[in-house]
Structures are given as C-alpha cells and as structure tokens.
C-alpha cells in the first residue's frame, strides 16, 4: 500500500503520528480514514499487507514486522520524534515488551522529517509512505529523506549464523548512480572479518542495470532487475532485497507511480522501483 500523504495548512505533528500509526497498523484504506488535514489531497494505491505489522507498545511508536517469506524472522522498528519532526528510525533484531526495549538496535538519526507540508496543486509534494509485506518506506522530499526498511533473503552465511538479521535499513539517496552505493545498513549480521556479529555499514547493491528497449508499438518496455546486496565481511556473499528493483536509467523523470503487467503498483525513484502491493 502506498499513501501519498498530502496535507493542508492545519497539519500538526500529532496528526502525522496518528496517521502514520494508522497506516502501519492497517486502519487506513481510504483517505477519509486519515486525520482531517490529510483527507482532501492524500491518495492511496494498493492494499494493506495483513498479518505483517503490529504495534508492540502503547506509548512509543514501536512496531514488529514479520519477514514476508522466511518464518521465524520478526524484527522491530521504532520511530522517534522531536517536538516538530520525525527524527530517528531504529531497526532492531529483537524486542523486550516488558520494558519496551529494542535489542541489538541500529538507530539512524537526524532525519528531520517535517510533516507540516502544505499541499500546493502546482507543487504537489508531501510524504510518500509505502507499507508492504516486504518493507516500509518513507519519502519526504522537502526534508531530503528517502529511508526504508526492506526484507532480505538468506545467504549461506545468514543460514549458518542464524542470529543475522534479515531486514536492512535502506537510504535510497545512497544507491547506484545516486550516491556512493553504501546506503544499506544491516544492524546485526555475522562477519568473517571479525569472527563475530557486527553492524555492517559497508554494504552495497549488486545489480545489472537493465537496458532501454522498445516494443513494436514504440512503447518503452520497463525492465525490472532484482537488487542484491553484498559486503566483504560476509565473504561477498549476496542477499536478495525484496520488493526493490533496478530500472533502466532515466526511465521515469522524478518520482512516479506505474503499474506492471499484473496491475501491481510501483513507486519509481532514482532509477529504482519499490513494490507497493
């Protein structure tokens, strides 16, 4: 599900917190389910993934996410707020409910996502929020943030060292051709460099960028190649990143939505596509 979250002038951080929580927990299926400043201009694509996300604490914005295919891998994330912004996101291996404590946590700080963006028909931007069974993604162009959490598949290393996490934090501004391609962080995974579990921040995408080809009717065929991640501490083994695809260069201008041949939606960004459904 993609919520293109667009708000009017009386938007507040509290409204955003309410809406974000409702989107993640499946309480939003139409824009009318959002708080009043977001009802008029927000749009929704796709459907909510049932049985994947759960709010695990009544006070903090802490959630569990089950892996979309691999049983036994549920990890946790938490949003942290300042008085005016969404400022931190944590991704953790596990969680202790009694004390609301994330265990083995990587925290990305300084997001500064300001939710009070007034909708302007001539400049129709806001915050895009994807919640799928493969990940959660937030894009706030006015705050210069494109950050998400994606499921990853097993490698030989993660199958053997089973405490390795199968979810990653992904900064979509630090990918192939848009940054140093070091935008993936695995909070907790096994390293053969240190012979211990580590936080791997030196992970990059491995991918073949598709070429641009045209059909007999002169339409652009949008090829989507899967994206893998790799890093040398794991012996350069690779893991699939679920729900993330590489597009031919400059297939779409800016940030756009399209449907594949099965009518499933994608959000395109920086020559990548993120699966919405």
């Amino acid at each position: 599900m993609l919520v293109r979250y667009r708000t009017t002038g009386n938007q507040t951080l509290a409204n955003f917190q309410t809406d974000l929580n409702a989107i993640i927990t499946g309480a939003v299926s139409a824009s009318t389910d959002l708080t009043s400043p977001a009802r008029t201009y927000s749009t929704i694509y796709g459907t909510y993934p049932t049985g994947i996300y759960q709010k695990v604490n009544a006070t903090t914005y802490t959630y569990s996410k089950a892996h979309n295919v691999i049983a036994g891998y549920t990890h946790y994330f938490r949003f942290g707020f300042t008085a005016t912004t969404l400022n931190t996101i944590d991704l953790a291996q596990s969680y202790t409910s009694g004390t609301d404590t994330l265990v083995n946590t990587y925290q990305k700080t300084g997001l500064g996502i300001n939710p009070t963006v007034n909708y302007d028909p001539n400049y129709p931007i806001g915050i895009d929020i994807i919640v799928s069974n493969k990940g959660i993604f937030l894009q706030a162009v006015t705050s210069n943030q494109m950050i998400g959490i994606f499921d990853i598949g097993h490698s030989g290393v993660t199958r053997a060292y089973t405490s390795s996490m199968l979810m990653v934090l992904q900064d979509m501004q630090n990918v192939i051709n848009y940054g140093a391609n070091t935008g993936v962080v695995i909070p907790y995974t096994y390293s053969f460099d240190t012979l211990s579990y580590v936080t791997n921040t030196s992970t990059s995408h491995v991918n073949i960028t598709p070429l641009k080809k045209f059909t007999a009717t002169s339409q652009l065929a949008v090829f989507e190649n899967p994206v893998y991640l790799t890093n040398t501490p794991s012996g350069s083994t690779i893991n699939l990143i679920y729900g993330l695809y590489k597009l031919p260069v400059a297939t779409f201008s800016g940030i756009q939505i399209y449907q594949d041949s099965n009518s499933l939606y994608r959000l395109s960004i920086n020559d990548y596509a993120i699966l919405i459904n």
Binding site: T60, Q93, T99, T199, S202
Partner: protein, 133 residues
C-alpha cells in the same frame, strides 16, 4: 580496545563500548538473542533509559568477551557489571605546526631575470679575478 576494530564491529563513529563482566546464565548461548537481551536489560536497568540504541557482540576468539555498544555522546554507565573498553568519538587531528614564510610575488620578467642571473653565475667567473691580475 583498538578503536578502529570497534568501529568496524559496530559501524559507528560515535558511542561507547563496554565489556560485560556480570554473570552469564549457564543455560544461555552466548551468541543468542536471549544473551543480548540479558546484557542489554542489565545495562539499561541501571541507566533507566530504555530508548537507547545498543548492540551486544561476543568475541569467541577473545575468551568469549561480551561487549555492549551504546549510542551516546557521553559515558552513561552506572553499573559495576560493565567496564568501559572504548569510545568511538573520533580522535582530534592535530595539524603539524609549520612556519610560513611570506614570499614576494614575482612576475615573469623577474623570473627571466633570475634565470639569466643564475645562468650567468653558473659560468666560470673568470673575468673578475682576471681583471685583478
């Protein structure tokens, strides 16, 4: 411990690393999530802030030492079950003190003159002593 090693392990440029010297339950696998939870809760119980970002790593080749990373600007340990082993605040790089000398700006003409002078001085200065003889 070596700061670059700790940085490699925890992937952070800031924070503090403590060694856990408390009691490890006999039944607990040192590399299990339960062990990480045990150590994390032990640390946070003393500090009182359950929103800190922490990670627990065990080094099997170093006598199974268990280390806890805490993302923080300051040393916040209040428990005697943890011993500070390193902080990941970057070292202050001290620039070497070099003496600067103001050199006059020379134009092309001056350079040519100097070249000529050097060329002249490189030749045997036979004229002056000869004249004196």
């Amino acid at each position: 411990m070596n700061k670059s090693f700790l940085t490699e392990v925890f992937g952070e440029q800031e924070g503090f690393v403590y060694e856990y010297i408390g009691t490890v339950p006999d039944h607990m696998d040192p590399e299990s999530p339960e062990m990480a939870e045990h150590v994390t809760l032990d640390f946070l119980a003393g500090h009182g802030d359950n929103l800190l970002a922490t990670r627990v790593v065990q080094f099997p080749y170093e006598n199974h030492r268990i280390m806890l990373y805490v993302k923080s600007d300051t040393d916040i340990n209040t428990s005697n079950e943890f011993v500070l082993r390193g902080h990941l605040v970057p070292d202050v790089v001290v620039e070497p003190i070099t003496e600067t000398v103001d050199t006059p700006v020379v134009d092309d003409t001056t350079t040519d003159t100097e070249t000529i002078t050097e060329t002249s001085s490189a030749e045997p200065s036979s004229s002056e002593p000869t004249q004196g003889q």
